[in-house]
């Protein structure tokens, strides 16, 4: 079963959650969080995770919440289900800094994005596309059954393809 009807309601991926499959998936209102999408272009399936923080510091109960546990988790699940590394197309969005006054010294968004890139590099993988940073919120949608289409929408905008 590798096809899903395109008009099916998407699986909503909340903060720290992830999903692997061929159904449409969606993470709404990413601020400093990251929506990471991995698409298998051979099997037309994929995974999405909604990452909140860069480092798990040893915590294991919510692997989707942290960049350092979320990326290996998605890769493991995709490889176990039969994906080949060379078929993976990886994209990310989010990682913004919404508040001028508080966020700058921490800049969690930027650290999240950097951590994702670093862990992908450790796995000899890189991003095909990304839309991160700035001061804006983003909603990300992923359609594995439509050629792995990824769209990004901001508060005022019409969704555009990433």
């Amino acid at each position: 079963m590798l096809s899903a009807p395109p008009d099916k309601a998407p699986v909503m991926i909340g903060i720290g959650e992830y999903h692997v499959g061929c159904e449409p998936m969606m993470a709404i209102g990413l601020g400093s969080c990251i929506g990471l999408v991995i698409y298998d272009r051979e099997r037309h399936t994929g995974a999405m995770v909604h990452i909140m923080l860069p480092d798990s510091s040893g915590r294991t109960d919510r692997p989707g919440k942290y960049a350092d546990t979320a990326v290996p988790l998605l890769l493991k699940q995709l490889f176990e289900s039969g994906s080949r590394k060379t078929a993976l197309v990886i994209k990310m969005a989010g990682g913004a800094c919404m508040f001028e006054y508080f966020g700058n010294n921490l800049n969690i968004g930027e650290r999240n994005a950097e951590r994702v890139r670093a862990i992908l590099a450790e796995n000899h993988l890189s991003l095909a596309a990304e839309e991160v940073g700035g001061r804006i919120g983003r909603t990300v949608s992923f359609f594995p059954a439509e050629g792995g289409k990824v769209t990004v929408r901001s508060a005022d905008g019409v969704p555009h393809e990433l």
Binding site: G14, I15, G31, M52, R62, M98, L106, G109, I136, G137
Partner: protein, 193 residues
């Protein structure tokens, strides 16, 4: 705990009413415990203005207090204050200053009242404003809280001005350590003769 939210929101409602020279109705304050994975069920991607203050004072990083208003209501609020009528317009710098000012006055009123009840000083930090998807703004605050958490406690009260069709919320999101201090203080108050 509910009384804490109640007294704070009541004072904030009074100041909003004075600024608008109109009646402001206040809902029963709600205390919600929300798992971060379900935040979107409470605060969605609708465009809103959030004026945010960190809780400071005796507890240096106590959490946040947020004046939350949908973008449509925000335009009606600043129109009322600035004497404008066009509601179908983007928010500009003047609106932003007006929103910061309203947020400032309301957060101060909220914290003055709660501080008086609890007997310790809570001060608002300088404000920070986001006009964007509400979920994106709240999520960013949760990510930068001092104590890492899987659920947040929201003290939320709706403030409505029927005359100008303004619907807003005042939300307090304390750190876990701040909540503990609240509980201790309230227990002491109840023990007192």
């Amino acid at each position: 705990m509910q009384e804490l939210g109640n007294i704070g929101a009541a004072h904030a409602a009074t100041t909003l009413s004075q600024m608008l020279s109109s009646t402001v109705e206040m809902s029963v304050p709600k205390i919600k415990v929300v798992d971060i994975s379900e935040l979107a069920e409470h605060i969605g991607e609708e465009p809103a203005a959030l004026v945010v203050f960190e809780l400071q004072g005796e507890i240096p990083h106590g959490g946040y207090i947020i004046f939350y208003i949908s973008r449509k209501s925000a335009v009606r609020l600043t129109n009322t204050m600035l004497g404008l009528t066009d509601t179908d317009r983007p928010l500009n710098e003047m609106d932003e200053s007006a929103l910061l000012e309203v947020g400032n006055i309301m957060a101060s009123a909220f914290l003055d009242a709660t501080a008086e009840l609890l007997g310790f000083v809570m001060l608002p930090s300088p404000p920070s404003l986001a006009i964007d998807m509400a979920h994106a703004a709240m999520q960013s605050l949760i990510a930068q809280m001092q104590e890492e958490i899987d659920e947040v406690m929201l003290f939320s009260t709706e403030l409505v001005c029927e005359e100008y069709k303004i619907d807003s919320d005042i939300i307090m999101m304390p750190e876990t350590s701040t909540l503990k201090t609240f509980v201790e203080r309230l227990e002491n108050l109840m023990k007192a003769p």
